[in-house]
Amino acid sequence: GGGASDAGNTGDAGDAGDAGMQEPTFGGASLADFEGAAGFVVVAPGDPIRLGASAALTGPIPEFGLDIAQSYQLGVHDVNAAGGILGHELEIDIQDGACDGDAATVVANGFAADPSIVAVAGGTCTGETFGLQPILQQAMIPHVTSSATNPKVTSEDCTVCNRVALNDDLQASVVAPYMFNELGLTQIAVMHDNGDYGLGLAELVQGYFEAAGGTVVAFEGIQVGDTDFRAALTKIAASEPEAIYFGGYATEGGLIAAQMEEVGLGEAIFFSDDGVYGQAFIDAAGAAAEGAFVSFPIGDEAAELNEAFDAAYEEMFGIAPDDQGPFHAQAYDAIALLADAIGRAAVADDAGLGYLLIERAALIEAIRATESLQGLSGVLTCNAIGDCGAGGIQIFQVQDGAFVQVSGFGMD
């Protein structure tokens, strides 16, 4: 993309030169060597460091997208409140990725065309993230997603791909044995929302549960947007499961939990995933939420940080984050992780004129080198393929209308 070398910072750099100031150098090399060069971003004094973001503000799950976008904003706000990065403010350009690969292509190309974009947060959905990746890879812009949990999102081939969300495989490998061993369930039914996330997870859970020695007596999908799942549940009820595991999101999860009783599955346990965790589930399920199990990567360990976050979020946006969506902590952490990595990868100019040089390759490496960063979702450490999610799955149960952690597997 050579067509777009005339970005805003060129003009500013020129102004600085006109003012008769000293030409900045980086490790002896002059500014001109990096200015507009493909692999580098130069931030002029007073300019912000710019991030891009793709969030699903429209499409099937706009409430989650909005939650994530607001958390990004809060994250950026907090970084700046703490003094920014090496004296520069952080700025974020949030675009609507619409939970759709198609939209993401345009969004990603927009970021790729903008030489001042250093890194990208997002996307919200897996398809959207897949849409971002090839383009960002080509442009050497690293991204961190906070909610795309499909195992394929990170891989050895993709150097720019990272996530703070946990890989579904881990979630399934913890949850399934828990059901079999701790809860003593031997016959479960597995349901999914026929979405990329829900189905992927449901299949993994099925595999692990059977591997642990249990039986999956039914495997049924529902359709997002439907609100009456009684027919599917009736069919499941015929195979008399002790529990239903559901892979999907809160609205459908809540409705399934609520409708179980109406088909005679009142005694069966409802068990679900991190997409379901949150107040939204309890609201949707009503009384039926009581006793349901949900796994989620954030444990009580980070409770205090989260409380502070929740307060700030509500203050800023007028709604409690749990009412908005499940992924705010991870979204906030994505910004924190990027800020941390940029701080490590950026180089100030030799004379301290306030210029900042960020080598894209260095930033990509810096992200992967993240270690023990305390975030809202736990302690973040990235591995070689970009999985940075806090290292544990905890299991919660709804008791008296609130989530209570009942197990803390995988905690370091």
């Binding site: 049924e220 947007g225 609100t227 009684r230 027919a231 069919k235 015929a238 609201d283």
Partner: protein, 360 residues
């Protein structure tokens, strides 16, 4: 003249005749045989008890009842204006929201879960709120988006309706927020009947929906067939100009039709909320689409057809996957396939339009 013998068509002609008329029947018979075969096979393998099927029939009827309330609105409007009111699902959604806020209010003053009377009044109040808001939405829709287009070719109001549908959906998203709004069933209607040991359970809301939709159908039938307004509606449906000659205020009749359809949708929205306990900005879309399908399945423009189509669609969705031994994800594939099949053999739906097929 008696020398005329039986037809001897050239082979190619004969083939095209076959193609034209008999292939449909042949394919139809084959498909039906295959389906029956499959059902028998599955029934042997799975051996669900009878109570299971009964239960699914109940599920299907309730689902169909909801579709019917929406489909009746589609059919009414179609019957008069020959336009597909694509935004009808959104009218339902608006009613659902109104019902939700009404419920919130009634809950906050303690009526929703108060005495049986208070609780019943809560439901009445919700229904009224939902119907009023839906009626307003429907009338405004007609006035702004459809009336200026009356007399234009069909595509034009269709596109306008699609536009209105997007507009309403995303307006709701913006105004009410993206988060789902969850109904809490008022106490009188919160509960289930268990039918002995059969395992069959009927929820109060389900029964409520089914009975209401039947009552609404009857009411509609009486309005359309017996009242003066109904006669005016049918006259307007046939010819607006001649209806005007009779002294019928065509605009008033059309507005009334929209209001009637919207009221049903509003009631449907509230009942959907009560039954499935959630309303969102896009809640109207899928039921709208299904109800539209149901209306066409039954024969669009025909009130009875809408009812039959809806119940059939509901039953198909509930029973189809089990009967064919497929996962429930396939329910919509089954439903749409049946739609296509039915229309192939009965191009104007099960009950059909009353129109004659006179061609020349």
């Amino acid at each position: 003249m008696s020398t005329l013998t039986q037809p001897k068509l050239p082979t190619s002609e004969r083939f095209s005749q076959l193609f034209g008329k008999y292939i449909y029947i042949a394919v139809g018979i084959i498909i039906v045989i295959l389906l029956i075969g499959r059902i028998i096979f599955v029934a042997r393998q799975e051996s669900y008890p009878l109570s299971y099927w009964t239960f699914q029939v109940i599920n299907g009827l309730v689902l169909g009842g909801v579709y019917a309330l929406v489909a009746l609105g589609y059919t009414l409007v179609y019957g008069i204006l020959f336009m597909i009111n694509f935004a009808h699902g959104e009218v339902l959604m608006m009613g659902g929201f109104a019902g939700f806020f009404a419920l919130q209010y009634m809950t906050s003053i303690g009526w929703a879960n108060g005495t049986a009377l208070q609780s019943t009044l809560t439901i009445v109040f919700m229904m009224l709120a939902g119907m009023i808001v839906s009626v307003i939405t429907g009338i405004v829709l007609e006035r702004l988006a459809y009336r200026p287009l009356r007399g234009a070719p069909r595509l034009v109001p269709l596109i306008s309706a699609i536009g209105a549908s997007f507009f309403l959906q995303y307006t709701a998203l913006l105004v009410f927020g993206a988060v789902p709004h969850n109904y809490r069933k008022p106490s009188v209607i919160d509960g289930v009947w268990k039918l002995g040991d059969s395992g069959i359970i009927i929820s109060y809301t389900g029964a409520f929906i089914f009975i209401t939709s039947i009552l609404m159908l009857l009411g509609l039938f009486i309005i359309v067939q017996r009242t003066k307004m109904g006669k005016a509606m049918r006259a307007v449906a046939e010819d607006k100009h001649i209806a005007a000659l009779m002294g019928i205020d065509v605009n008033k009749v059309i507005v009334f039709t929209f209001a009637l359809g919207s009221a049903l949708a509003g009631a449907g929205g509230v009942m959907l909320g009560l039954h499935n306990t959630v309303i969102r900005f896009n809640t109207g879309f899928l039921p709208g689409l299904k109800a539209f399908t149901a209306a066409v399945l039954g024969g669009i423009g025909n009130v009875l057809g809408a009812m039959i189509g809806s119940l059939l669609l509901g039953l198909l969705e509930a029973l189809g996957p089990s009967a064919l031994g497929l996962p429930t994800e396939y329910k919509d594939v089954i439903a749409f396939s049946v739609l296509v099949l039915v229309l192939i053999f009965r191009p104007s739906g099960i009950v059909g339009e009353v129109l004659s097929e006179k061609k020349a």
